[in-house]
Amino acid sequence: MAKAAIDYLYYLRADKLPHMWCPGCGIGIVVKAMIGAIDDLGWDKNDIAVISGIGCTSRAPGYLDMNTLHTTHGRALTFATGVKMAQSTKHVIVISGDGDATAIGGNHFIHACRRNIDITEIIVNNNIYGMTGGQFSPTTPYGAKAATTPYGNIDPSFDLVELAKGAGATYVARASVDNGRMMQKLLRDGMEHHGFSVIEVLANCHTQFGRRNKMSDAVTMIDWIANRVVAKAKADKMTLEELEGKVITGLMYQNKERPEYTDEYDKLIERVQAKTSAKAGSGK
């Protein structure tokens, strides 16, 4: 039986539309997939907190009719950690850009991964600081041009999947805006995963990144992304030479064994309280 069509407007603050993103911006595709994933899970929108920092991507919660918190640059995860600690049965989602999540917020990112707290972080990676005018970010590719690298970037870039894995995240996936269906599936599974989940989404910023790198419209840039990505199942059968210059998408890592942080916290309280009441009971 065909599933009923998603009522997107139910999840959106229609009075805040139209949005402020450039025509053809990839963030809209991410928001659509995010709503699709939430709808698929059947979560009550009022049980969800969406938290963001600063930047183009961070404007998303402004359009979502959920519990939303628009915070400071790079620190969304710290606010989200507080929300999750206070309301551990609710769903906490962070949506960030690459500059927000991995430059100014890089420290918080690795520590959220390390704790394995049950938060889903969506990192919309468009390889640039879009809102402030196209400065290079920690994910700008080597050699690419940005407003602050007119002769090409010499900073090595982060591989966000490896970074998240290395730091301890227990669900790590990579999606891309050319494949909304796959993105929705990965977002859904990431949200359902009990632990810290990171979904990097390769997205287009043709306005700030593309314009400086011979891809000044959305279609050209999304094509560039589509031609670079290889799904994990296919990549597993390819040789290293064939994978040269390619980016693998799909579920990259999942660990269901590692304990989640708020669970550990509850267990700790239980253990210490049992000890104290045992002491009180023994009359000492």
Binding site: I54, H70, T72, H73, G74, A103, I104, G106, Y129, M131, T132, G133, Q135, F136, P138, A147, T148, P150, Y151
Partner: protein, 395 residues
């Protein structure tokens, strides 16, 4: 020959930075400062300066890198706005306590929350006790000239204190004006070469900065820092005089500009770009026979208490306009200072305070006119309707 160019305030300051030719510049983008560093980056890319420029991962890092470079003997600069300045808070105190003469342009912008990117003074007012000198600008020309002077003030051997030069977000930073850019040679000669007495990594004179002080010496260090800070007042005036002479500048480079104050009965104290509108209103009132005047405060730290008290003494009534709030204090931060300056002065003018322009709320001549009307009415009725009020606030 000086050049007359059409520049935004941010570009004008970038030109000052080009002539200062700092050894190291660290930057992190934040609206409305970004276009300043962008312009400076053009000068770096074009080989027009010798500066090493580094784009770091946050403002905390930008101020830290600037501090590190300055401690290592390099003339170093950065620039920021609002939340960026707030993120630097920790390092601002460290820079001033290390006595590092860093100069930082700050494009004034409202602090979150709610998030807002437009102009007000809450950012620099929030760091007013960090041990930095604060110099405000009315327009792009002043922002340019203040930046050049700031280097001389900061690096003066008796002062060695960091300086922030402020310009109002968007109104000055993004508004295009004609700006006179002085000859490079002349500007460079005025700024001079940076010759630090002590630097890190000088093996002949090894140095420790910021070593732990407990109750044994912390207080003593702070008192020494304050002594040097207070010496900056005289240096600010000296540098202003020399600047005017060197460049035949017509701007007022004292602690404040006293506009039509000699025989004034009513006056407004204001800082930043709004001074332009107040001046216009004063002229209009004068043409209608009202003895109006204006104090445009240029130097907020060190605050010129004595000089200001002298300038305000003969007035019937005076209003202070604040573009930020000091929560729980007596109105805004400028009002608190001015009121304190008038303690013990007889006869002191009647005095009130207006908060205005928060988060970029427009300030029009009619609002300033209403301030003068309130002053006149208060003198007749011998009291104010409200001692601390708002301008252009939706009721």
């Amino acid at each position: 020959m000086p050049q007359i160019l059409a520049l935004t305030g941010n570009e004008a300051v970038a030109y000052a930075m080009k002539q200062i030719n700092p050894d190291v510049v660290a930057a992190y983008p934040i609206t409305p400062q970004t276009s300043m560093m962008q312009k400076f980056a053009d000068f770096v890319a074009g080989g027009e300066v010798d500066s090493e420029m580094v784009l770091v991962e946050s403002e905390h890092s930008a101020m830290s890198a600037t501090l590190g470079a300055q401690a290592a003997g390099a003339r170093s600069m950065t620039a920021t706005s609002a939340c960026g300045l707030a993120l630097m808070f920790e390092i601002l105190y460290i820079a001033s306590s290390y006595r590092l003469p860093i100069v930082m342009p700050v494009v004034n912008r409202a602090l979150s929350g709610p998030i807002n990117i437009q102009g007000d003074h809450s950012d620099t007012m929030g760091v007013r006790d960090a041990g930095w000198i604060h110099i405000f600008s009315e327009n792009a020309q002043e922002a340019y000239e203040n930046t050049l002077q700031a280097i001389r003030i900061a690096e003066h051997p008796e002062v060695l204190t960091p300086v922030m030069v402020t310009l109002d977000g968007f109104i000055i930073s993004h508004g295009v004006e004609t700006v006179t850019i002085f000859d490079d040679d002349k500007a460079k000669k005025f700024v001079g070469e940076y010759k630090p007495r002590y630097t890190l990594l000088d093996t002949k004179k090894p140095l420790t900065l910021g070593a732990l002080n407990f109750s044994d010496f912390y207080f003593e260090h702070k008192a020494t820092q304050l002594e040097a800070f207070n010496k900056s007042a005289g240096v600010i005036l000296d540098v202003g005089r020399e600047f005017k002479k060197t460049f035949n500048s017509t701007e007022c480079y004292e602690f404040f500009e006293a506009y039509k104050m000699d025989d004034a009965e009513f006056a407004v104290v204001v800082l930043g770009s709004t001074a332009g509108s107040v001046r216009m209103v004063v002229d209009d009132l004068r043409s209608r026979g009202v003895a109006a005047g204006m104090i445009k405060l240029r130097v907020f730290r060190p605050f010129p208490h004595e000089e200001l008290a002298k300038a305000l003494k003969g007035l019937k009534a005076c209003a202070v306009m604040d573009r930020s709030i000091a929560y729980g204090g007596d109105g805004g931060p400028v009002h608190i200072e001015v009121r304190s300056a008038l303690y013990g002065i007889h006869p002191a003018p009647m005095m009130c305070n207006y908060i205005y322009g928060l988060g970029g709320k427009p300030i029009e001549p009619e609002h300033i006119l209403s301030v003068f009307d309130d002053l006149k009415e208060a003198v007749v009725k011998k009291s104010f309707k409200r001692r601390v009020g708002y301008l252009n606030l939706k009721e």
